[in-house]
C-alpha cells in the first residue's frame, strides 16, 4: 500500500523534550492557591458493617478544613457499565458495609498532608466484622456469606457464548483433553501514583486535574455521583505516568477531592502513596479456568468448552468487560466449529480486580495456549504446526461475533519459527534449555457500548489557519503510549502538512469534542485516528474549490495535499502553498473559520471489535535444576499490527510488554493473608529491572486493515499476552514440568520437578 512517508516513520514523541527536561506537568506537580491536602481513611478489615463513625475529633484538629463520610455524600452508586445499572455497585465512600481491606470510609482535607494524616488517626470507626471470603471457590460454595446482598451467590455477572454443536463435535474427536488452570493477580505498577486535584469553579462547577486514562468517563461518573449536571464537571488530564488499565474508572479520591472542593470552596488534592497503590489498588483478575478441548488426530481443533471464574474482588470495576473478553479470547486465534464459554464474575473480599493490559486475554491465553501445546505433544505434532493447522485467517467469521478483516497470523507463525531457529534448536535439544511458543490476538477497540455513551466513540476537531498551521482537538488520552504523536502523524499525513505545524489540544473535556471513551482496549489509534481522518477530509473539501477556481479546472481533476502544498494531481505545476489555500478559502467564506469535526463509531462490525491484531512469540529459557530459577535467554516475536503508524512507538509497546509479561510469568504476585496485601513495596513486589530483561528480536508482519486509519490496528495490549504461555512452554521443554498455575516460582517449579516436597 502506498501511504504518505510520515506513516510508519519513527517520529520521536512530541512531548519528549518536556519530559526529559522535567518540565512536563503531572497532577501532583500542580499547586493551586489555597490548596488543601486530602487523605483517605480505609477499612482495616476485609468484610464488615460500619456501626458507628465519629469524626468530631478529626474535625476539631487545627488545620483540618473538612471531613466527610459516606453519610455526608449523595450516596449514588457508580460503575463503568452504565448500560447495566445493576452492575454499578460502588460508592465513593462506604455507607454501611466495607468489603475489602482498603475500602474507603472517610476523607479529610487539611492545610498540610501531615495534618490530614494525623486527622485520619482521630477518626473513630466501630465495625461489626463479617465472615470474609478470599477465593472464587469459597465464594460460590453453598451458603457462602454474601458480599453484595443483591448478588446471586456472589456471582455478579455471567457471560455465555455458544455456537456449533459441542456434543457432536466432541464425539467426533480423536483426542479430548480436560485441564484446569489458575492464574494470579498482578499490579499495573504504573510508576506515577494516582493523583487528583479538584478546583472549585463558579456556580457550583468543578475542574478536576487527574491522572486518568478516561477523562470522559470520569467526567460523566463524577457528575453522576455528585448529583450535578455533566457539563458542570471539567476534567483536565495532565501528563499521566502510565496506566495499563489501572486508571480507567472514577476513583474515590476524585470524588472526595471534588466534593470537598465544592464544600470548602478551596482546591483539594489527593496523591496516593505506593503502599496504598500496592495494598488497595486495582489489579489483574485471578482466574480459575477449566478447559476441555477436542482434536482430530491430524491436529484440527474441533470443540472447546471453556469455563472461567474471575476473582473480581469486592466490586465489579471493569470485571464485566474482562469476563466478556476472556470468552472472546478463548476463540479468537483459531477457527473451530464448536465453542462454549461460560464466564462468571465472582465477588471476594479482596481489592477489586479490573482492566489490565490484555483485559482477560492474558489469562485465557495462558490456558488455551498451554492446552494447545499439550495436545500437540499428545498428537505428535510440532507446536507451531498445530497452530498453523488451526490459525485464523483473513475473512474468517466467528459466528455472530466478528469478521476478521485482516490477519497475518500464519505469517507470524512462519516468521517466528524462522527467526527463533525453532526447528534446528528443537532437534538439538540442550539439557535444561527449552523453546516455547505462545500466541495472541487482540481487539482494536471495543464495539460493545457498555458505557452507554450518547456520543460517538471517538471525535476530533480540526482547524486550519492561513499561516499554514492546524489545530487538532481531541479527548484521546496519551498515557505514555504515544497517541498524542500518532494522531498528529495521521493528521499530518491526511492534510499533507508538517507535523510540527500541528498544535494539539487534548484532554480538556470542556474544550475538546464529545467524546472519546479513553485509552483502553487498544482503541485510540484506530478509533480516534479514523475520526481525525474524517475531520481532515472535511477540511480538504473546503480547500479544494480554491484550486478549481484559481486554475480554472475541469471537474474531472483531482487535488493532492503534500509537503505543505496543494496541487493538481495531473498537473503538479498548478500548485499553491497550504497557507495560501487556507487564506483564499477564508476570504471566500467571508471570514468564517475553517474547522471541521470527525467522528468514529464502529458500525456493522459484529459485537467485539472492528479489527484484530495477531502475533506469535517464542521464548528461549534455561532452568537451573538445583535452584529452580528460570532465565529467559532470548525472546522472539513476530506480530501483525496492520500498518504501524509510528514504528518506534510500536517497538516501545513490544519491549514494555515483554517486561510486564516476564514479571507476570515469573516474579510478580501479591502475597495476601486474610485480605491483607503483605508485599506493598517495590522491594517486595518484584517487577523486572533492566538487569532481568532478556534480549529480544522481532519482526513485523505487515497487513493492511481496511477499517483502520492508513491500515493500522492495535499494538498496545496484544503483545502483553503471549509471554506467559511461551515461557511456561519453554520451561516444560527444559524440565518436563507443565505449569498450570502462575507464577512459575522456583518453589513451584522444584515441586513440579519432584525435587521439593
Amino acid at each position: 500500500m502506498n501511504h504518505p512517508s510520515i506513516i510508519g516513520a519513527s517520529i520521536p514523541r512530541l512531548d519528549g523534550r518536556a519530559k526529559v527536561t522535567g518540565r512536563a506537568i503531572y497532577t501532583d506537580d500542580i499547586k493551586a492557591p489555597g490548596m488543601l491536602f486530602g487523605a483517605l481513611l480505609r477499612s482495616p478489615i476485609p468484610h464488615g458493617r460500619i456501626k458507628r463513625i465519629d469524626v468530631s475529633k478529626a474535625r476539631a484538629l487545627a488545620g483540618v478544613k473538612d471531613v466527610i463520610v459516606g453519610a455526608d455524600t449523595p450516596q449514588i452508586k457508580y460503575g463503568n457499565w452504565r448500560l447495566v445499572p445493576a452492575s454499578q455497585d460502588e460508592l465513593p465512600l462506604a455507607v454501611d458495609k466495607v468489603r475489602f481491606v482498603g475500602d474507603e470510609v472517610a476523607a479529610v482535607a487539611a492545610v498540610s498532608s501531615d495534618i490530614a494524616q494525623r486527622a485520619l488517626e482521630l477518626i473513630e470507626v466501630e465495625y461489626e466484622e463479617l465472615p470474609a471470603i478470599y477465593s472464587v471457590e469459597e465464594a460460590t460454595a453453598e451458603g457462602a456469606p454474601l458480599i453484595h446482598e443483591e448478588s446471586q451467590g456472589n456471582v455478579s455477572l455471567v457471560r455465555k457464548i455458544e455456537y456449533g454443536d459441542l456434543e457432536e463435535w466432541f464425539a467426533k474427536a480423536d483426542l479430548i483433553l480436560e485441564d484446569e488452570f489458575k492464574v494470579h493477580a498482578v499490579s499495573h505498577a504504573y510508576l506515577e501514583p494516582c493523583s487528583s486535584l479538584a478546583v472549585p469553579d463558579e456556580g457550583g462547577r468543578v475542574t478536576l486535574y487527574t491522572s486518568t486514562q478516561t477523562p470522559y468517563i470520569v467526567q460523566c461518573l463524577l457528575a453522576h455521583t455528585l448529583g450535578i449536571p455533566e457539563n458542570y464537571v471539567r476534567v483536565m488530564k495532565t501528563q499521566v505516568g502510565g496506566g495499563f488499565g489501572g486508571k480507567m474508572e472514577l476513583r474515590p479520591w476524585e470524588f472526595s477531592a471534588s466534593f470537598m472542593a465544592l464544600r470548602t470552596g478551596l482546591p483539594v488534592k489527593f496523591t496516593l502513596n505506593r503502599a496504598e497503590e500496592l495494598s488497595y489498588g486495582r489489579r489483574r483478575h485471578p482466574m480459575s479456568i477449566y478447559s476441555k478441548v477436542g482434536f482430530s488426530k491430524d491436529g484440527k481443533l474441533l470443540a472447546k468448552d471453556f469455563q472461567v471464574m474471575l476473582d473480581g474482588g469486592a466490586y465489579n470495576a471493569m470485571g464485566p468487560t474482562a469476563t466478556f473478553l476472556c470468552g472472546t479470547f478463548g476463540n479468537m486465534l483459531y477457527n473451530f466449529p464448536a465453542y462454549r464459554y461460560y464466564g462468571r464474575h465472582v465477588y471476594t473480599n479482596k481489592p477489586p480486580a479490573s482492566a489490565m493490559r490484555g483485559f482477560g486475554a492474558p489469562q485465557a491465553a495462558f490456558a488455551n495456549e498451554t492446552q494447545l501445546n499439550l495436545a500437540a505433544e499428545k498428537l505428535g505434532i510440532d507446536p507451531i504446526e498445530i497452530r498453523l493447522i488451526n490459525a485464523m485467517q483473513t475473512g474468517d467469521v466467528i459466528p455472530d461475533v466478528a469478521t476478521v478483516s485482516s490477519c497475518g497470523f500464519k505469517e507470524c507463525l512462519e516468521k517466528v519459527r524462522e527467526i527463533s531457529g525453532w526447528d534446528a534448536k528443537r532437534q538439538a535439544k540442550t539439557p535444561n534449555k527449552g523453546l516455547g511458543v505462545g500466541c495472541f490476538s487482540f481487539i482494536s477497540g471495543g464495539v460493545f457500548n457498555w458505557f452507554d455513551t450518547k456520543y460517538n466513540f471517538s471525535a476530533a476537531e480540526v482547524k486550519v489557519f492561513d499561516d499554514g498551521t492546524a489545530q487538532l482537538a481531541s479527548m484521546a488520552c496519551d498515557i505514555g503510549q504515544g497517541t498524542d504523536t500518532v494522531l498528529r502523524q495521521i493528521l499530518a499525513a491526511e492534510l499533507g502538512i508538517s507535523i510540527e505545524k500541528i498544535r494539539l489540544i487534548a484532554m480538556d473535556t470542556a474544550a475538546t469534542p464529545k467524546a472519546d471513551l479513553g485509552s483502553w482496549g487498544s482503541r485510540v489509534t484506530l478509533m480516534n485516528g479514523n475520526a481525525v481522518i474524517q475531520a481532515a477530509r472535511k477540511i480538504k473539501d473546503m480547500l479544494v474549490p480554491v484550486l478549481f477556481s484559481q486554475f480554472d479546472l475541469n471537474q474531472i481533476h483531482d487535488v493532492a495535499f503534500e509537503g505543505d502544498e496543494v496541487f493538481v494531481k495531473a498537473n503538479p505545476k498548478k500548485r499553491m502553498s497550504f497557507a495560501e489555500c487556507v487564506y483564499k478559502a477564508l476570504r471566500g467564506r467571508r471570514g468564517e473559520p475553517l474547522s471541521a469535526y470527525g467522528y468514529y463509531t464502529p458500525r456493522d462490525k459484529g459485537l467485539v471489535s472492528p479489527a484484530f491484531s495477531f502475533g506469535a512469540q517464542v521464548a528461549e529459557v534455561s532452568v537451573d535444576e538445583d535452584t529452580g530459577l528460570v532465565t529467559v535467554d532470548q525472546m522472539y516475536t513476530a506480530h501483525d499490527c496492520g500498518v504501524a503508524i509510528n514504528k518506534m512507538a510500536v517497538e516501545g509497546q513490544l519491549e514494555g510488554a515483554i517486561q510486564m509479561g516476564l514479571g507476570y510469568t515469573l516474579s510478580e504476585q501479591f502475597v495476601m493473608r486474610e485480605g491483607h496485601t503483605l508485599n506493598n513495596t517495590f522491594l517486595d513486589y518484584k517487577m523486572p529491572t533492566a538487569e532481568d530483561m532478556p534480549p529480544s528480536v522481532y519482526a513485523e508482519v505487515e497487513t493492511y486493515e481496511p477499517e483502520g486509519p492508513f491500515g493500522a490496528k492495535e499494538a498496545g495490549e496484544g503483545l502483553a499476552i503471549p509471554t506467559a504461555p511461551a515461557i511456561a512452554h519453554g520451561v516444560f521443554e527444559a524440565t518436563g514440568f507443565r505449569c498450570r498455575k502462575l507464577p512459575i516460582t522456583p518453589e513451584r517449579l522444584l515441586r513440579g520437578m519432584g525435587k521439593l516436597r
Binding site: G16, V20, A24, D28, L191, G482, A649, G652, E655, A690
Partner: protein, 163 residues
C-alpha cells in the same frame, strides 16, 4: 520540632530554606523550591524516580534528608540543560531513541545515567543495565533506555575528542 535553616546549591543557584529535620530532599525540592521535575514513585528508596545528584553522586532524594544536603551541590533534571536551548546528550538521546514513554521514570533514569557516565564514560550494555538496576520503568522494558545511554556515551566521547 523546630525547623532548621539550610543552604542548598541547586543547579548552581543558592537557596536558603527552613525545613523540618525529617523532611526529605525530594519533598523540599518539589514542595519548597517547586522543582517538580524530580518525581516520587515510591518514597521508599525502591524505584529511582527521585534520583538526583548530590556533589555528583546519584542519590534517592526521597531517602535523603534535606538537612544532609546542606551546603552541597544538588543537580536535578531541571539543571541538566539550564538554558532550555541545548539539551544534554543524554536528554537528546532519550528523545531520539524513544527511551521516554510516560516519562515518569525519565528524570531519575537520566540522572542515574549521568552519574554512571561520569564514573565510566564507555560502559557496556551490561554495565548500563547494572547501573540502572535501582531505577524501575514500567513502560519501555528498558531496551531503548539502554540504547539511548550508549548513544549518549558515544556522543560525549566524540565531543571530548573534538576538544
Amino acid at each position: 520540632m523546630a525547623k532548621q535553616l539550610i543552604e542548598l546549591i541547586v543547579n548552581g543557584d543558592r537557596y536558603e530554606v527552613a525545613v523540618e529535620p525529617g523532611a526529605s530532599l525530594a519533598e523540599v525540592l518539589r514542595e519548597e523550591l517547586y522543582l517538580t521535575g524530580t518525581k516520587v514513585g515510591c518514597n521508599q528508596g525502591d524505584c529511582g524516580a527521585c534520583t538526583v545528584l548530590v556533589d555528583g553522586r546519584s542519590v534517592s532524594s526521597c531517602l535523603t534528608l534535606a538537612v544532609e544536603a546542606h551546603q552541597r551541590e544538588v543537580t536535578t533534571i531541571e539543571g541538566l540543560a539550564p538554558s532550555g536551548e541545548t539539551l544534554h546528550p543524554l536528554q537528546e538521546a532519550f528523545i531520539e531513541k524513544g527511551a521516554v514513554q510516560c516519562g515518569f521514570c525519565s528524570a531519575g533514569m537520566i540522572l542515574a545515567a549521568k552519574a554512571l557516565l561520569d564514573r565510566n564514560p564507555a560502559p557496556s550494555p551490561e554495565e548500563i543495565r547494572h547501573g540502572l538496576s535501582g531505577n524501575l520503568c514500567r513502560c519501555t522494558g528498558y531496551v531503548k533506555i539502554v540504547e539511548a545511554i550508549q548513544a549518549a556515551s558515544l556522543k560525549l566521547a566524540a565531543g571530548k575528542e573534538a576538544r
